[in-house]
Symmetry: C2
Amino acid sequence: MHSYNDYLAMVNQAIADIHYPTRPATLYAPIAYTMALGGKRLRPVLTLMSCEALGGEVRQALNAAVGLELFHNFTLLHDDVMDRADVRRGQPTVHCRWNDNVAILSGDAMLTLATQHIERVDSRHLPEAMALFNRTAMEIYEGQQFDMDFESRDDVSVDEYLEMIRLKTSVLLGCACRMGAIMADATPADCEAIYDMGVNLGLAFQLQDDVLDVWGDPATFGKAIGGDIMNNKKTFLLINAMQRAQGSDADELRRWLADSTAVRHDKVAAVTALYERLGLRQLSDETIAAYNARACEALQRIAMPDDARQAFTSLIARLTGRQA
Amino acid sequence: MHSYNDYLAMVNQAIADIHYPTRPATLYAPIAYTMALGGKRLRPVLTLMSCEALGGEVRQALNAAVGLELFHNFTLLHDDVMDRADVRRGQPTVHCRWNDNVAILSGDAMLTLATQHIERVDSRHLPEAMALFNRTAMEIYEGQQFDMDFESRDDVSVDEYLEMIRLKTSVLLGCACRMGAIMADATPADCEAIYDMGVNLGLAFQLQDDVLDVWGDPATFGKAIGGDIMNNKKTFLLINAMQRAQGSDADELRRWLADSTAVRHDKVAAVTALYERLGLRQLSDETIAAYNARACEALQRIAMPDDARQAFTSLIARLTGRQA
């Protein structure tokens, strides 16, 4: 069993080895630019880890791993156009550095490039791998559409929110794990269990993201604290606060949501204090711990060597207790 | 062998049978809307025709045929966002009826839905079909990017233009023919020949489109004549005119290209007269006839029943001599 950093190095090498045609430059340069921005490479690492843990070899899973990372970065590229986001990983987004049309078309090409990497898996695994990939992609678009629909709704329930993040974020982590298992010729039961592990890890991971935006350490979080609060983003915290706040708390929350000229420090401090009064830090931690526990339970159902199980256990603990 | 209208009816039935989830409505309704707008369904019909002509059965090719029509409509949907086009087949485009974000995301979903239809071909044919589909998709994005790049260039050569339309339009017709041949277990030589037929048919078809915009019959063309001229669109005609015009003709062409307030009737009439003086109607007809002949030559290389060969010959003649 290799370490996270070993897998990361393999993934980064495979990404560096992708051959992009030189022309038309405005189609391929944004793809190379996006892939060179780096990141945790969590999805492809999960694919390689899952493959090796279930008795396969890394080289069998490398194409699929890179395909999933290309797909993930394609979704970020198009999401940044839709969200009008200017910065991604500290650099200008593609639609800012080039323009919207370049971002749309190079994103499309990136989705097909991702599919081409899935296409190159062993032909014996191709039908299952391709079906998993496409089904997951459709779920992710559904999640993104629900997320955009939520912006104009004030009655989003906690269950709807959890279903949205399951679709938008978590199924891709489940898919990454299952893809590695498929490449290792794992049993259907193991494929199912490792998928469950990935999905629950993803839910814990995304909720941790909501928590870090409020209570994260600015030094390690990598972006300014309170972005979600300033944007009235319907996170796990805001949706619960809208349901729980009563009396003067409810009035105060409504005022901050309506105040488009609020001073950042004041609004972030006040809403954070409100979240704390409503017990939402504890609720979040408990909810994250529950998904974490489900991920660990799913892991226990899978037959794998001790060192592999230990590696997954550590990764789950690290990702759902992460500070950045 | 069935008729074009038989194949069209089968394709339209299969498209009507596509099951779209009901939620999120803003993701799936634009896809259903786009597919219901109709059209010639040329690509899926070519797939079914090619499959049957080479000894296969229609039902073997139906998933791939629908996948290619979904893909074609996805490219139109995203192209309409990039070109800021308001109308498609007489109806508001998706980004006008909904908004840009809906058009981007439902287009992405449409591309994956297309890939899911290719994914559902017989697993024996899946590797070849998926590779052909993805390779063709990348070429089409390249063609669209070259087309956008040409807008800001005044030195586009005729060869560059022909390569652009080969990528943007023709390879999908070649792919549609080859896809049907693959489903019929045709020989590699027949697959190659029917691809060549489709590509050359596509080149003739696209040049005919440029010609119809200038000399088409408004009653049958379906849109106003002269749109390309008004938009200074770099067509086969304009690129040749920029190269051939001398002296006062060159001055006049430059003036019309620079005149952003020209009266439509005046500009269209003057540029059309200039094209005629420069012999471009004849040049276009000769070039179309040459691609038509190459398509027919490729057809002759393929072993197929007489009635199938006759059906392709008629279709080529009809598409490259079409008035609409």
